[in-house]
Amino acid sequence: MAAVLRLWWQGRKGTGRSAGGRQRFVAVAAWVVVGLATAVVTVNVVSHGSTAGPASGTSHGGRAAQSAAGQNAGGQRASSPSAAAQSEMASFTRAQVAIWMARQVSPSAIVACDPQMCSALQATGLAASRLLVLRLSAADPLGAEIVVATLAVRDQFGARLASVYAPEVIASFGSGPARIEVRYVAPDGARSFEASQAADRGARVAAGQQLLRNQRIHASEAARVALTAGNVDPRLLVTLAALAAQPMPGQQQVSVAAFGDSSPGAADVPLRDAEIGAGPQAGMQAMLSFLLAQQPPYQPAQARLVRQPDGQYLLNVEFDAPSPLGLNGGP
């Protein structure tokens, strides 16, 4: 619950631009999901003998819930408190994923999910038209950009999920059977994706090194390490180069304090957020205006100014997931 509160609080903090309405809706919807999950868990715990999922045996969602509740596939009854606890954990993890997806994933991305997960996503505001519900008959998750790999989905596609369809984990929540991975679906297959990914990292390294030579850009030591290693999202790199060329009142340099990671449990995805500044309000406001004028794919998911105790301003900018490939490439 503490994690949910933290996520909710982050949601409240991140309402600095026109997407504020969406953020509020997400926050409210997240509470609804958490409330529903809690109610389901309560019923499970009280009844102690009822089936673990609301649609057991008829959908993946039922399978997922059953699996999470002690691998009792086949409609067996969850007869122990530990099964109930696991079911609660599964519901909680789904709620976490739903909140993260609503806040972090590109609003245009099609998401493949099992019925139970899809319901949770819809409850946080993802439009039904963006959801590709994975029935038992689904041969693959292709057609979606993101697949939410619950236990049911992992069971359904087996090793091919990671090795063929969706090689990259962009976020991961929970552990054990309740673990849920958010994966990027590679439309041209894993091998092609890995080649593109390697080329992209090389381009990000080169771009990061060039930015570090730019006299109008100052980077903290941590930011330098991230830029040199090619760990920064290409949209941030392109944006920083443009920001450095803009006239900023009272500002001689774009100062990058830190790059951040908004993808829990993902080891090798580019850093999608940055903290720029601090600086006087006029210069930082000019940077914010530049960011807010951008269009996809360079339109940030969030951009806002934060006043510091010393009166200076920090600019927080964050792009949504997944990081696109090929933006720093040639023709």
Binding site: A207, Q210, A242, Q294
Partner: protein
């Protein structure tokens, strides 16, 4: 008196001297920052229903190396600009927009040493995208290369033939054909579409590279022949020979041109200053004689 005049001359010379050193130093710094060798880039507005735009190129490694092209309209193709190799962000802003409005980032391009690129705004206004084309600069011996950009919105699909040889069959709007090797000579480009045709005589010299652009003209289809390169020199043809124009750069494109202009300016200033000094000296001598 002499010291005073010399100081003036030195002051006058200091300005062009600064002009000489500043761009050269900036160019050297940009080059040093991005490795050896420069590349080439030009910009093309090929979106028929998109108003004119200002285009900005921001260098990752050197913010002072920004390139700005003002008021680029449909059909305009800029001359090639020589730029330090490296990564650039490309942004656009509606021509005539308020100076305070922000350019909108559109794409980024990696310029490799010795390579030439066309950044082309293509598609309809609602789906405008900047496409980066890798321009070929050399040809097989004794041949020419031709490719076609289809930028006509009125005729969605066109066929392009050179003489009797089809160089771009069924080319859809906002797409680019691959390069075709053709025999040199003078021939007719024939563009055919469901709703209209266009013909144009072109001369394709040996070892030249051409981009044929199909445009919507005031009286139907038009074809423009851009000579991208000649002589297999790895240096693209400077400027546009077709009269598309409209995108004159902010100053001479190459460092050599800068140096020639600045040297000429310095010579003029020096000559003027010397003449002033001689005139003044003559006047002083004459006055002294008269007083005597």
């Amino acid at each position: 008196m002499k010291r005073h005049v010399l100081a003036r001359i030195l002051a006058l010379l200091a300005v062009p001297a600064l002009c000489v050193t500043a761009p050269v130093a900036a160019h050297a710094a940009a080059g040093a920052g991005t490795g050896s060798g420069d590349g080439w880039i030009r910009l093309a507005h090929l979106s028929p229903n998109t108003p004119a735009v200002d285009v900005y190129l921001y260098s990752f490694g050197d913010s002072s190396a920004m390139i700005v092209l003002k008021h680029v309209g449909y059909g305009d193709v800029s001359p090639y600009e020589r730029v330090a190799s490296g990564q650039y962000s490309v942004a656009m802003r509606a021509a005539g927009a308020a100076a305070t409005s922000s350019p909108v980032l559109s794409t980024s391009v990696q310029i490799e040493p010795g390579h030439a690129y066309t950044v082309a705004g293509m598609g309809p206004e609602s789906g405008l995208r900047l496409t980066i084309l890798d321009d070929q600069l050399t040809t097989p011996p004794d041949h020419a290369l031709v490719r076609v950009i289809q930028a006509s919105l009125l005729q969605h699909v066109v066929n392009v033939a050179l003489g009797g040889h089809t160089v771009a069959p069924s080319l859809a709007f906002a797409s680019v054909s691959g390069y075709q090797t053709v025999a040199p000579g003078t021939d007719t480009i024939r563009v055919t579409a469901a709703g209209g045709d266009a013909n144009k005589a072109v001369t394709l010299a040996a070892e030249t590279v051409h981009t044929l652009v199909v445009l919507d003209g005031s009286k139907g289809l038009e074809v423009v022949d851009l000579e991208d390169a000649a002589g297999n020199t790895s240096i693209p043809a400077s400027g546009v020979a077709t009269g598309l124009g409209g995108t004159a750069p902010q100053g001479p494109a190459s460092t050599v041109m800068w140096l020639v202009l600045i040297a000429a300016g310095s010579a003029l200033v020096l000559a003027g200053a010397t003449r002033m000094w001689l005139l003044r000296r003559w006047r002083v001598t004459r006055l002294t004689r008269l007083r005597a």
